[in-house]
Every structure is written in structure tokens, then in C-alpha cells.
């Protein structure tokens, strides 16, 4: 127990990550509004569908606005609650919109005392006949969206398109980071092998590379399942990171084929240590240079291959950082098992 405390720690962290990551609810948000188009100079009733909301309990405090880019807000004239996640919101849309163009998208903002404020970006497109900016300014008061409530319950951010799949961050992204850590430690042992020619170091490098490759494949699978729900496809050439990662897995798969193509133990260890270091050097442009040069479909993209920091709030950090540590410890644990199997194999085959 005293010696292997880190194994128990890793397991405990992962239990925490799975429980917290799966059980903490999403913040209330707006799922859908229908219809999504309307004409100016019209009184229009929209049906709004919420997610994780308590419209029935907070019916007296619900407020709604249609918001333009520069903070001109149109307050809803009437709001009726259908049930806990359905609202009928009526707007008296003025004759003029605060824009020069004929068609423009407006965001919907909802607020109540239990759920706090939520936004549906580009919710409704409004069409006007003749733009008149000066008269529109009076009809769309500026700065009336205020006194918004905040939601104090512990929850994960609500993001359109992502929805519940935002939880995949704790598994998919943590597996990648854990894989990188395992590969780095593996390269460290390969370098150590080349300096000392002690076979233990090569066995350690082999064990770490095996578990790292396994994490990489799991990362690809979790990402692929997630992609089916958000991008609508398991695999796409539009996503450079996905394909570069597949290539990286091929590079590491070649490591195992290279090992099995040599019999002589000393040469095998030496050549595969060299290849391991080389493969890691080739991995850096694949995962960290090329994805920055092209566009990506990943959240927080646009030259940045990681999850955008603005998407990661403090509640998510409380789960995400332990998840990285937990998966790394689990990977190290698996590696020590593979290492011990290698040791046993060495002993058995020497005796025969």
C-alpha cells in the first residue's frame, strides 16, 4: 500500500472523474426556437425549447429579448409557460431594424431567477422592407438587457452543437495528454538505453510505448464517436488533426513491427531505441505544426489545436486536470505490468 500509493491514487482520481464528469448536469440553455424567420412590423409568437430549464418554477421572473450586435434589445411583450422546458414568447417586431441590410440574424436571450441567463446565438432572422437606421434606434432601446441572473448550481457550460458531448473533454483530450506524457517518458528511457545499454531501460521504453499507443487508439475512438454526434461523420478529411493522428499511430505501429523483425536482442534494443526517438521527433510536426497551419473542425479551432480556453470554465477544470493526472497514472500502471511481463519473458527464454 505504501509503495504503490500512486496506483490507488490514479484509480481514485479516475473514479472521481467518471462520477463527476458524468453526473454534474449541464447549465440550462436554449435548444431551439421556432419559427426561425419573421417579418418586421409583425407580432410574432415563437415557441422556445429549453434544456435543463425550470420555466414552470420560475414563471414569474422569466424575461426574454431579441438582441442585435450592438446591444440593441427588443423586450418580449408576452411570455407564457407551457411546461418546464417550453415557452411561448411573443415579440412586437418594429417596422425598422437597427441595421442597414434587409435581412439580419438576432440572438435570443432568456433570463429567470432559477436558471440564470441563457443565449441562443443567431436564433431568428428578421426581414425588413426599407431600412431606416435613425428611426430604428428609438424602437430598439440600447442597454435594456440588464439585471441578469446567474446560475449558482455546479454545472458544466451549455454550448450549442456540443451539448452533452462536452463531457468527452475529460476522456478524449485527457487520453491525448496522457499519451503524450507516456511517449515522452518512453523517449527518456530510450535515450537512457543508448547511454547505458542496459536492457531494462529498453523494456521500460517498450512498455510505455505500448500503453501510449493504446491510449492513442482509444483517443481516436472516443474522438470518432464524438465526431459522429457533432460533425455527423466518424471520419472526415476536413479534419487535419484526425488524419495526422492516424498517421502518428502508423508511425508507432511500425515501431512494433520493427521490433519483431529482429531477433538479436542487443541489436533489437538498440535499433528500436533509435527508432523510438526518431518517431517522437516525427510526431511533433504531425501533431503540433501541421494542424496549426490548416483550419480545423475541433472546438477552439482557427490555428489553435487545443480546446479554446474560453470554453473551459472552472467547473470543467476541476474535472479535466485530475482526469489528465488519473489517465497518466493509469497508463504508468499498465506500463509497469507490461514491463514485468517482458522481464518474465526474458528470464523464461534465457533459461530455455
Amino acid at each position: 500500500m505504501r509503495k504503490f500509493w500512486w496506483k490507488y491514487l490514479g484509480a481514485a482520481i479516475l473514479v472521481y472523474v467518471i462520477l463527476a464528469g458524468m453526473l454534474i448536469p449541464l447549465k440550462p440553455g436554449v435548444l431551439e426556437i421556432s419559427p426561425s424567420t419573421a417579418q418586421a412590423a409583425q407580432t410574432m409568437t415563437f415557441t422556445v425549447e429549453g434544456y435543463n430549464t425550470n420555466y414552470d418554477k420560475a414563471s414569474s421572473s422569466i424575461r426574454a429579448w431579441l438582441r442585435s450586435d450592438d446591444d440593441h434589445g427588443l423586450t418580449a411583450s408576452e411570455i407564457t409557460v407551457v411546461d418546464y422546458n417550453t415557452l411561448n414568447v411573443t415579440f412586437n417586431i418594429p417596422k425598422w431594424l437597427p441595421y442597414e441590410s434587409k435581412v439580419k440574424y438576432f440572438s435570443l436571450i432568456l433570463d429567470n431567477e432559477i436558471d440564470g441567463a441563457s443565449v441562443l446565438p443567431s436564433a431568428v432572422s428578421l426581414t425588413q422592407e426599407v431600412p431606416n437606421l435613425a428611426r430604428a434606434k428609438a424602437l430598439w432601446p440600447q442597454g435594456n438587457i440588464k439585471d441578469l441572473h446567474t446560475n449558482e448550481v455546479i454545472s458544466f457550460p451549455y454550448r450549442n452543437i456540443l451539448y452533452e458531448t462536452i463531457r468527452n473533454l475529460y476522456f478524449h483530450v485527457s487520453l491525448w495528454l496522457a499519451m503524450m506524457i507516456l511517449f515522452i517518458v518512453s523517449v527518456f528511457y530510450s535515450i537512457k538505453y543508448l547511454r547505458t545499454f542496459n536492457k531494462d531501460f529498453d523494456d521500460k521504453a517498450l512498455a510505455l510505448t505500448s500503453s501510449g499507443l493504446m491510449f492513442g487508439i482509444l483517443g481516436l475512438i472516443t474522438g470518432s464517436i464524438w465526431a459522429k454526434h457533432t460533425w455527423g461523420t466518424y471520419w472526415t478529411w476536413q479534419e487535419i488533426k484526425l488524419n495526422m493522428t492516424a498517421v502518428a499511430m502508423l508511425i508507432y505501429a511500425a515501431y512494433f513491427i520493427l521490433r519483431s523483425s529482429m531477433e538479436d536482442s542487443e541489436r533489437k534494443s538498440r535499433i528500436s531505441s533509435v527508432y523510438n526517438i526518431f518517431a517522437f521527433a516525427a510526431l511533433i510536426p504531425l501533431l503540433y505544426v501541421i494542424p496549426r497551419l490548416t483550419s480545423s473542425l475541433h472546438p477552439g479551432n482557427g490555428g489553435n489545436p487545443t480546446f479554446g480556453s474560453e470554453d473551459l470554465d472552472n467547473t470543467m477544470r476541476m474535472v479535466f486536470y485530475p482526469a489528465v493526472i488519473g489517465f497518466t497514472l493509469l497508463g504508468l500502471w499498465i506500463s509497469t505490468l507490461i514491463y514485468r511481463i517482458e522481464k518474465i519473458k526474458d528470464k523464461l527464454y534465457d533459461r530455455v
Binding site: 543508448l194 495526422m244 498517421v247 502518428a248 502508423l250 508511425i251 511500425a254 513491427i257 520493427l258 523483425s261 529482429m262 531477433e263 541489436r267 538498440r270 535499433i271 531505441s273 533509435v274 527508432y275 526517438i277 526518431f278 518517431a279 521527433a281 516525427a282 511533433i284 510536426p285 504531425l286 505544426v289 501541421i290 497551419l293
Partner: protein
């Protein structure tokens, strides 16, 4: 003997050997010409983006074939002889320079032969020349080093392919982008970024190759 002098001698040795034997170079040139002809016969009307893809695929396979032999052609005894004489660093640098020259020649001739039969879609010659130059250099560095690993394994031609294709993909993708830009298939205002990326990848690979080669060589 200083390392530069060693590199010069080894390079000279490679060139003289090539000149005397000739079959290796002429073999690979014939390979390129017949591939170009097969590709031309199969496609006939070649659109620029297809031209671009086929051109780099021909170069890729020709390069792997040309370089795969670099460490298997010297017999084990001759390798041992070099080992007693020169610095291993000089051996890998000389091989890389020689292979880069060879690939430069191959890619230029592929370009000439392919444009003769399938037309020349290149609009910005200087950019295409940079792509060819950096491509030859990158392929040469990566494949020379991998061929020295593959030479140690049992099934060396298969090992050469499975190790070199994934490693070269970042270089190849950037090259295809660069040459597509030189054909005006796509417009990229920040094409210098791609050139710097290529130089950086070449830099990483050559540094790793030079550091690690001494460990591969002693046997």
C-alpha cells in the same frame, strides 16, 4: 581528418561509384520514365490538381526505391572498413547530400518527362523550384536515415515502406500545398509559412538523424 574533409571524400566515393556502375542511376531513371508513361497512358487528359498529386506520388515511390539501397549496397566488410576510418557523422551527411543530389536530378527529370507528355501546369516557376528543392532535401534526409534502420531489419524493403511513408506525410502534404499554389490551383497569401514549416521539419529530421546515426552504425 576534419569532418568536412571526410564528407567530401565520402561524397566523391559515392559519385565515382555511381559513375562506374551507372546501373543504379539509369535503373531509377528508367523506372521514373516508365511510371510517367503508365500514368500518362492511364489518365491522358491530366487536370492540374491530378497532375500535382500524380507528380508527387511518382517522386515519392521513385525516391523510396532510389534510397532504399543506400546502406545495403555497401557490403558489411566495406562498412566495417569505413567504421575504422571515418566519423559516422561524416557517413550520414555524405549519404544525405548524395541522395539529395540524386533526388534533385530524379525530380527534375520526372518534371521534364511529365510536362512533355502531360503538359506543364506550373504558373510560378520559382515557387515550384523551391518545392522541388526542399522536397528532395526532406525526402533525402528522412529516407536515408530510415534506410539505415531498415538495413538492420530482416525484411528491409517492407520495413523501408512502412517506416518511411507515415514519417514523410507532413513533408508531402506541405509540398503538395506549395506546388498547388505554384499552379494557382489554390491561393494562399501566407505561402512563406509553408516554406518555413518545410525548412523546420527538414531541420528537426537532420538534427535527429545526425545525433542518432552513430548508434545505428556500430555493429
Amino acid at each position: 581528418m576534419s569532418i568536412l574533409k571526410e564528407v567530401r571524400f565520402l561524397l566523391q566515393k559515392e559519385l565515382v561509384l555511381e559513375w562506374r556502375q551507372k546501373y543504379a542511376l539509369s535503373g531509377i531513371l528508367l523506372y521514373v520514365l516508365s511510371t510517367v508513361y503508365i500514368v500518362y497512358a492511364a489518365t491522358q487528359q491530366v487536370q492540374p490538381h491530378i497532375w500535382n498529386a500524380l507528380f508527387w506520388i511518382i517522386i515519392l515511390f521513385a525516391s523510396v526505391n532510389a534510397i532504399a539501397k543506400s546502406f545495403t549496397q555497401d557490403g558489411e566488410k566495406r562498412q566495417l572498413y569505413f567504421y575504422t576510418l571515418v566519423n559516422p557523422m561524416a557517413v550520414i551527411i555524405a549519404k544525405i547530400i548524395y541522395n539529395a543530389l540524386l533526388l534533385g536530378l530524379i525530380s527534375f527529370l520526372t518534371f521534364a518527362a511529365f510536362s512533355l507528355v502531360a503538359g506543364n501546369p506550373v504558373k510560378i516557376a520559382s515557387q515550384f523550384a523551391i518545392a522541388l528543392f526542399l522536397g528532395s532535401l526532406g525526402f533525402s534526409i528522412a529516407f536515408t536515415f530510415i534506410s539505415s534502420i531498415a538495413a538492420q531489419a530482416k525484411n528491409s524493403s517492407t520495413m523501408m515502406a512502412i517506416m518511411s511513408f507515415p514519417v514523410i506525410i507532413p513533408v508531402l502534404l506541405t509540398l503538395i500545398k506549395l506546388s498547388a499554389n505554384s499552379m494557382r490551383i489554390m491561393q494562399d497569401t501566407a505561402i512563406w509559412k509553408d516554406i518555413y514549416t518545410l525548412i523546420a521539419i527538414d531541420g528537426i529530421l537532420i538534427a535527429v538523424a545526425i545525433i542518432l546515426f552513430p548508434f545505428l552504425w556500430r555493429d
